[in-house]
């Protein structure tokens, strides 16, 4: 598919839009449909599109395996870490109200961090799973 100029050009034009839309969905999930899971999947879909059109070698060069493994673990640690921080601040596990001076602000901050963790792990897992399947074919 690398040889098809239409696919190449259109992919290069739409990829930034896909990533931008993924970030929009991530941060706008408080006001409309969206949130961590959807944003993570859309982010991964951008990378998968790049891998489909330009080949898995190009995708591996863009996203090394170490980054993927780090991303898979980092999101979950962020989520669980928010809970540990609230434990340290005197509340129960994942009681976001203790994170800021008022309970509502604490909830906002807690939900923001938690959804960010979800988005990072979901994106990394989806790209890693795609690379695992795509890299299995005979070269």
């Amino acid at each position: 598919m690398r040889d098809n100029p239409v696919l190449r050009v259109v992919t290069k034009i739409t990829l930034p839009l896909i990533f931008l839309f993924a970030l929009y969905v991530q941060f706008h999930g408080d006001f409309g449909p969206g949130g961590g899971f959807q944003a993570g999947v859309i982010f991964a879909a951008g990378f998968i599109l790049y891998g489909l059109v330009f080949g898995t070698e190009a995708l591996r060069a863009a996203v090394p395996a170490a980054v993927l493994r780090l991303g898979i673990a980092l999101g979950l640690m962020l989520y669980a870490g928010v809970g540990v921080v609230t434990l340290g601040l005197g509340g129960e596990y994942l009681a976001y109200g203790t994170l800021a001076h008022t309970a509502a602000h604490g909830q906002h901050l807690g939900i923001f961090l938690v959804e960010l963790g979800v988005g990072v792990t979901v994106a990394a897992v989806m790209v890693a799973v795609f690379l695992a399947f795509a890299g299995r074919a005979d070269p």
């Binding site: 408080d30 006001f31 409309g32 449909p33 994942l94 909830q107 399947f133």
Partner: protein, 187 residues
């Protein structure tokens, strides 16, 4: 009235897609029909006011699931072997199970009934108090991340485990055909 008509048409299309997916033996067509099924399900979710769920089903069902299934049939083979004998026992099991489920739905509240038991108890509390306690307009995000945050932590752990499992089974390294060196036996 229009909503009911749209619902009926969409569910009819879903039924046609599912029945076609049963009958076909070319797995590429079956996976594509599954993608269509997921997209129709996402439209049904929008009609039923579940916008978050529609978003997720469209992204995950049509995007990730279909891509992974296509990758698998690329690796495992595209054609299904035709069955040697007619599957009468599975058909009987399916009919009996379907009849039992339909009998079970006779006690259910009508579609759209605002007095159904599922709308009592804890949901009015979420809808009324979440504006003061959390202040975020999207109630689904509220419940997902704050009121039922433990469940979401568990869900994230499930995704993490699936990612680790797939990496353990398939690995991220390029799979090279190993050529035996001098004096070594073939793999």
């Amino acid at each position: 009235m229009l909503i009911e008509a749209i619902n009926i048409v969409l569910l009819g299309m879903l039924a046609v897609t599912a029945l076609a997916a049963i009958r076909l033996h070319d797995l590429f067509a079956v996976v594509m029909l599954f993608g269509i099924y997921s997209l129709l399900a996402a439209v049904v979710f929008v009609v039923l006011d579940a916008v978050d769920v529609a978003f997720t089903e469209a992204a995950v069902g049509v995007g990730i699931s279909t891509v992974l299934m296509l990758a698998t049939i690329g690796l495992a083979g595209r054609h299904e072997k035709r069955p040697a004998h007619r599957p009468l026992l599975p058909l009987l099991v399916v009919v009996v199970t379907g009849a039992a489920l339909v009998y079970g739905t006779l006690d259910m509240p009508h579609f759209g009934d605002p007095n159904a038991p599922v709308h009592q108890h804890v949901v009015p509390r979420y809808l009324q108090r979440s504006a003061d306690e959390i202040g975020i307009p999207n109630v689904v995000t509220n419940i997902l991340a704050s009121y039922r945050g433990y469940d979401t932590l568990g869900e994230l752990t499930v995704i993490f485990t699936a990612g680790v499992g797939v990496l353990a089974l398939l690995g991220l390294r390029r799979r090279r055909r190993e050529r035996p060196g001098p004096g070594q036996s073939p793999p």
